[in-house]
Amino acid sequence: MPVSRRTFLKFTAGAVSCSAFTGLGISLAPAMAQAEILKFQKTTITTTVCCYCAVGCGLLVHTADEGKGRSVNVEGDPDHPVNEGALCAKGAAMRQMAENKARPPKPMYRAAGAKEWKEVEWDWAYAEIAKRVKAERDASFTLKNSKGETVNRTETMVSLGSAALDNEECWSYQAIQRALGLVHIEHQARI
C-alpha cells in the first residue's frame, strides 16, 4: 500500500496511521521501508563537520530536491572516526541552525541615531561600507610612528572574528585586513 506524504507526517508526530495496517501483530517493515524512502526521496547526502566545538564531529546532511531544496535531516556520520555517528544536543540540533525563520534574508542598515533597522540591498551595503572604510583609512593612515619608524598602518579600525570561518576564509580575511593596514586584528582565541 502506498504511503502518502501526509501519512508520513503523521509518523513524525509520534503516532503511526493505521490505514496501512489491518490489525495486530502485523509486520510493519514493508510500509516503513516506503516511509523511509519517502523521507530520503530525492535527497542528496553531503558530509560536513560540526560548527560548534572543536572535537570536529562528522555529520550527514540530507538536502531535498536533489540538493536544490533545503536540508531535511542532519545526523551524525557513522563512518567518522571521532564521533562514530554520535552527536551532543547541539550537533543533533544543527538543522535548526540553518533552517530557521530568524535568519535575516537581506543586509540591514542602521543610520546614526536611528531606532530601527532598514533592509538594504547587498550592492548598496558594499558600496557604503567601502566608502567608510576608505575614508577612515585615508584619514588615519600612519606611515611613520612617533619614533620615525615606518609602520604603514591604521590604528583606528578594528577587526574581531572569526573562529567559525573556514580556514580559507580566515586566511583571506587576515590578508584583507593586513592589506588595509590594520594591526588590531583579534578573534575568539584571545578571549
Binding site: K68, P104, R178
Partner: protein, 799 residues
C-alpha cells in the same frame, strides 16, 4: 592538542582540569570513557560537581583561580618522592641545563623585575652557555643552578598545608590525585591532561598550562600515546583561525608580526629566526626564513620580499604587545580612539569581559560592520538595555551570511586535523558565504583606490586575490591551493625539478628566496596536487600499530605533515625502541621509522625530540614567558584574600591591568567567588543556539548555581529570581540551589563559590537574561592578554 581525540582512550590516567568535557566537548567523553573501560583512572578537578565529575573515580574540589597551587603541589610531590620518569627527564627535558647566575627568585618575584614598568628583564633568566654556544648541562644534577634543583627549590614551598590553604581542596583529595597521576611516571604508563578555558581565562593562564607541562615532562607523558597536553578548543575552527593568524601578534603559521624597529625585511627575518649551535637540535624554527618568504609571496606574488615586507603593517616595538590585544582595543574604543569595527562572526557585546564597557565603547564608533547568521547583541547594541538609540551615532551594517553547511571549505579540529566540509543546501534566502562577502567588499574598496587613489594604496592594489576567485566567485578550493603553496618558477631541489605552478609537496621544499608561495606553512603538504586535498580523505585503513592506538592517518590530514602525536620522538629511547611497546607511537624497525610520522626525521638518537624548542628539550624552565620561567601562585586579580600564603606578591606582577578598572579585593560588598561556564545545549554567547527551539527548551534562561547553605543564609529558594552583582554590572538569574557547589575554606576563611553560564543575551529570548560577562573584569594575562573571566568576585541577593 599535542595528541588527538581518539588517543585519550590510550591513557592510564585522564586528568580533566579547567574543563568540563562531558558538557562542553561531549563527544570527547566517548574516548574518556573508553579509557576508563580499559582501566584508566579519571580525575576531575573543578570548583563544581559537573556532568563530568560523576564519571570520575577521583575528583577534587578546587577554588577558582588556585590551579598553580594545586599543580605546584603535584610537582613537589613528584620531585620529593622521585616519581618522575628519570631517563626521559634527563635526556629529553632541560632538567640538566644550568641557569645563569643572574637568575633569582624572592618573595614572589623573579629576577629582573622593573617595578615601574611592570616588566621583567628576561635576560636574567638565560641559560649558561659553553664556548660553542650550547647550553651547559649537568647530567649529575649536582649543580645547584641546574634546572632540576631550581625547580625543586621553587616548588618545595608547595606543601600540602600551603596548597590546601590556597585551593580549599582537602589534603586527602590532593594526595589521592597526586598519587594517581604521578603513577604515570613510568616508561609503560601515560597520563593526559585535558584543559580548556578554566586554565586560560586567568591572569596566570599561560603559567597554569606551563605548570601542567612541567608535570607532563617530569612524568615522561609528552609525545606518547595516551599522554600530552591537550587544549580542548571551543570553536569548530579556532585552531584554524589561529593557524591563519587572526591575531594581533601573529601572521599565518605562527610567524611574529613585524615590528617598527625592523627597517628591512632581513631585520625581521633575523630577529624571528632562532639559532642553535647544538648539532642534535633540529631547531625547526631555523626554517622560518622560508616560511616568511612563502607567506609574503602568497599575499604579494608580484612584489619583491622587501616590497612585500614594507606593505605589511607594523606594531610599535616600544609598546607592550598586550597594547594591541582585545582588552586594550576596547579600552581605546571606550575612549573614542577607534572609529570602525568589523565584528565578523563575533558577538563582543556578550562574549567579551566587562561587556557593558564593550557595549558603551561600540557607541563611540563611527561605524560597525557585523557579519552573522542572526541579529545579535552586537549588531543591535544601540537598542539594548539602557541605550538611547537617538544619541548613538554609530552607523551599523548587518550582513547575513551562509551557515556552515551551506558553503564549502575546511576546518581544523582540536587534534589539528583539517577536514573538508561540503555544501548541502544553497544559502537560505541567497545570503552569501563569508568568503564571497569579504571578497566582494574588498573588490569594492580596491575599485575606489584604483579610481580615486588614497593613502598608501600599494598593498590594496597588490593583494593577490586572483588566487581566490573562480568564475567571479570566492573559491575555497583555489584558496586551499594557496594555503598549501605552489612554485612560482621552476625549482630543482635535491635533483628533482618542480615546475612553475606545481603544488609544493611538503614544507621541507619551501624556499627562502621567494620562489614558492605558502599561505600557511603548517598546511603545506595538505594539498600536494591541485586537485588533491588530503582533508577530503575518508579512508580508515591503518597499520596494526596505528589501529592499536585508534589512529586513522588516512582520514583527512593533520598538520604538521600528517603527524598525529607531536613530539612523538620522545616516546622512544636513543635506539628507537618505544618506552611503552604495548602502545607504541613510533618505532625504528628494519632501518626505518614505522607508526606515526616521526618528529624530526633521521636515525634514532641523532636528534633531540622537542624540535620546536631552540635547544630541542622540553622546557621545565621556560625563560621566554613574560611572567617568569617557573609558574608561581598568585591570587586572581579579584579574590577574597588581601594576602596569600606563598609570598607578599598578591597578584601576577606583570598582569595586564588598567588603572581605571573597578576591582573587588577582599571586599565585603562582593563576598563570593564567581565563575562562568557553558552548558551542553548552548554555544558561546548563545547567538546561534538561543535561536533553536530544540536547544532553548532545554536551557531557556540564565541561572546561578549556589549551595544550599548560602541560599539559606540569604533567603533564597531553588527557582527564585536572584540578582548577581560585581563592580562592573548586574545580571538577573534563576537560582539553582544545589549540593553540587560547595563552599571553600581558604586561608582559614569560609568563602562561597557561585557561578553562571555566559550563553545569554537580551536580544532573545526576551526572558532569558543577559550576559554573564556584564560581571567579569577586563584584567588580562600578561603573555596572551586573555581576560580573567573564570575567577572574580560577586554578590548575589534575592531579586
Amino acid at each position: 592538542m599535542t595528541n588527538y581525540w581518539e588517543d585519550i582512550s590510550n591513557s592510564d590516567c585522564v586528568l580533566m582540569m579547567g574543563c568540563n568535557p562531558a558538557e562542553n566537548h561531549p563527544i570527547s567523553f566517548k574516548w574518556v570513557l573508553r579509557a576508563k573501560d580499559k582501566g584508566a583512572t579519571l580525575i576531575h578537578v573543578d570548583p563544581r560537581f559537573t556532568r563530568t565529575t560523576g564519571h570520575c573515580q577521583l575528583s577534587a574540589h578546587l577554588r577558582s583561580g588556585s590551579d598553580i597551587a594545586f599543580i605546584g603541589g603535584m610537582i613537589n610531590y613528584i620531585l620529593a618522592n622521585k616519581l618522575f620518569f628519570a631517563d626521559y627527564m634527563r635526556e629529553y627535558t632541560n632538567a640538566s641545563f644550568v641557569v645563569g647566575s643572574k637568575f633569582s627568585f624572592k618573595d614572589g618575584l623573579f629576577s629582573g623585575f622593573d617595578a615601574k614598568k611592570k616588566v621583567y628583564d628576561k635576560s636574567t633568566w638565560a641559560f649558561e652557555m659553553d664556548a660553542n654556544g650550547v647550553p651547559v648541562r649537568d647530567d649529575s644534577f649536582k649543580n645547584p643552578r641546574c634546572v632540576l634543583n631550581l625547580l625543586q627549590k621553587h616548588f618545595e614551598r608547595y606543601t600540602l598545608d600551603a596548597v590546601t590553604a590556597a585551593t580549599g581542596t582537602s589534603k586527602e583529595d590532593l594526595l589521592a590525585v597526586y598519587k594517581a597521576f604521578a603513577s604515570t611516571g613510568t616508561a609503560e604508563r601515560s597520563g593526559t591532561i585535558m584543559y580548556a578555558m578554566g586554565y586560560t581565562q586567568k591572569t596566570v593562564g599561560v603559567q597554569n598550562i606551563r605548570s601542567m607541562s612541567i608535570v607532563q615532562l617530569l612524568l615522561g607523558n609528552i609525545g606518547v600515546a595516551g599522554g600530552g597536553v591537550n587544549a580542548l578548543r571551543g570553536e569548530s575552527n579556532v585552531q584554524g583561525s589561529t593557524d591563519q593568524g587572526l591575531l594581533a601578534n601573529i601572521l599565518p603559521g605562527y610567524i611574529d608580526v613585524p615590528k617598527s624597529s625592523f627597517a628591512k625585511y632581513e631585520d625581521w627575518v633575523k630577529a624571528s629566526t632562532p639559532v642553535s649551535k647544538d648539532p642534535k637540535s633540529v631547531n625547526w624554527w631555523g626554517n622560518k626564513p622560508k616560511y616568511i618568504a612563502s607567506l609574503l609571496k602568497s599575499m604579494y606574488p608580484e612584489a619583491t620580499l622587501e616590497e612585500a615586507f614594507q606593505m605589511l603593517p607594523k606594531v610599535d616595538a616600544h609598546r607592550k604587545m598586550t597594547d594591541y590585544f582585545w582588552l586594550n582595543i576596547f579600552e581605546r574604543m571606550h575612549k573614542g580612539e577607534m572609529k570602525g569595527l568589523f565584528a565578523w562572526g563575533m558577538n563582543p557585546a556578550c562574549g567579551g569581559a566587562n561587556a557593558q564597557k564593550n557595549r558603551e565603547a561600540m557607541g563611540k564608533l563611527k561605524w560597525l560592520v557585523n557579519v552573522n547568521l542572526y541579529e545579535n547583541e552586537t549588531s543591535s547594541f544601540w537598542k539594548g538595555p539602557g541605550m538611547k538609540p537617538e544619541s548613538i551615532k554609530t552607523e551599523v551594517f548587518f550582513l547575513p551570511c551562509a551557515a556552515s553547511y551551506e558553503k564549502e571549505g575546511s576546518v581544523t579540529n582540536s587534534s589539528r586535523v583539517v577536514q573538508w566540509r561540503y555544501r548541502g543546501p544553497h544559502p537560505l534566502n541567497n545570503v552569501k558565504p563569508d568568503g564571497d562577502i569579504m571578497l566582494e567588499l574588498f573588490k569594492e574598496i580596491r575599485g575606489m583606490y584604483e579610481k580615486d587613489g588614497g593613502a598608501y594604496p600599494d598593498p590594496i592594489k597588490a593583494l593577490n586575490i586572483a588566487d581566490w576567485e573562480e568564475h567571479n566567485e570566492y573559491s575555497p578550493r583555489k584558496v586551499a591551493r594557496l594555503l598549501n603553496g605552489y612554485f612560482l618558477k621552476d625549482v630543482t631541489i635535491n635533483g628533482t625539478t618542480y615546475t612553475k605552478g606545481q603544488q609544493v609537496p611538503s614544507f621541507a621544499m619551501l624556499q627562502a628566496d621567494g620562489s614558492t608561495t605558502s599561505g600557511c606553512w603548517v598546511l603545506c603538504g595538505m594539498q600536494p596536487a591541485a586537485d588533491k586535498h588530503l582533508g577530503m580523505r575518508r579512508d580508515k585503513t591503518a597499520t596494526e600499530m596505528q589501529a592499536n592506538l585508534s589512529m586513522t592517518p588516512n582520514w583527512a590530514w593533520a598538520w604538521p605533515v600528517n603527524r598525529r602525536i607531536i613530539y612523538n620522538r620522545a616516546s622512544v629511547d636513543a635506539t628507537g625502541k618505544p618506552f611503552a611497546p604495548q602502545k607504541a607511537v613510533i618505532a625504528w624497525k628494519d632501518g626505518k621509522w614505522v607508526g606515526d610520522v616521526v618528529d624530526g626525521g633521521g636515525d634514532p638518537g641523532t636528534k633531540h625530540p622537542f624540535i620546536m624548542q631552540t635547544h630541542g628539550m622540553g622546557a621545565l624552565f621556560g625563560p621566554g614567558r613574560e611572567d617568569g620561567p617557573f609558574p608561581e601562585h598568585y591570587e586572581p586579580m579579584e579574590s577574597p584574600l588581601k594576602k596569600h600564603g606563598f609570598s607578599n606578591q598578591r597578584v601576577n606582577p606583570v598582569a595586564y591591568l588598567l588603572p581605571t578598572e573597578k576591582l573587588a579585593i577582599a571586599d565585603a560588598k562582593f563576598p563570593h567567588i564567581c565563575t562562568t561556564y557553558r552548558v551542553t545545549e548552548h554555544w558561546q554567547t548563545g547567538l546561534m543556539t538561543r535561536r533553536q527551539e530544540w536547544l532553548l527548551e532545554a536551557e531557556p534562561e540564565v541561572f546561578c548555581e549556589m549551595n544550599p547553605a548560602l541560599a539559606k543564609s540569604i533567603g533564597i529558594n531553588n527557582g527564585d529570581r536572584v540578582l548577581l552583582s560585581s563592580p562592573r554590572g548586574e545580571v538577573n538569574a534563576v537560582a539553582m540551589v544545589t549540593e553540587r557547589i560547595q563552599s571553600f575554606t581558604i586561608m582559614g576563611k569560609e568563602v562561597h563559590q557561585i557561578g553562571l553560564p555566559w550563553h545569554y543575551g537580551w536580544v532573545t529570548p526576551n526572558f532569558g537574561g543577559d550576559s554573564a560577562n556584564l560581571l567579569t573584569s577586563s584584567v588580562g594575562e600578561p603573555n596572551t592578554g586573555i581576560p580573567e573571566t573564570k575567577a572574580f568576585m560577586a554578590n548575589v541577593r534575592k531579586a
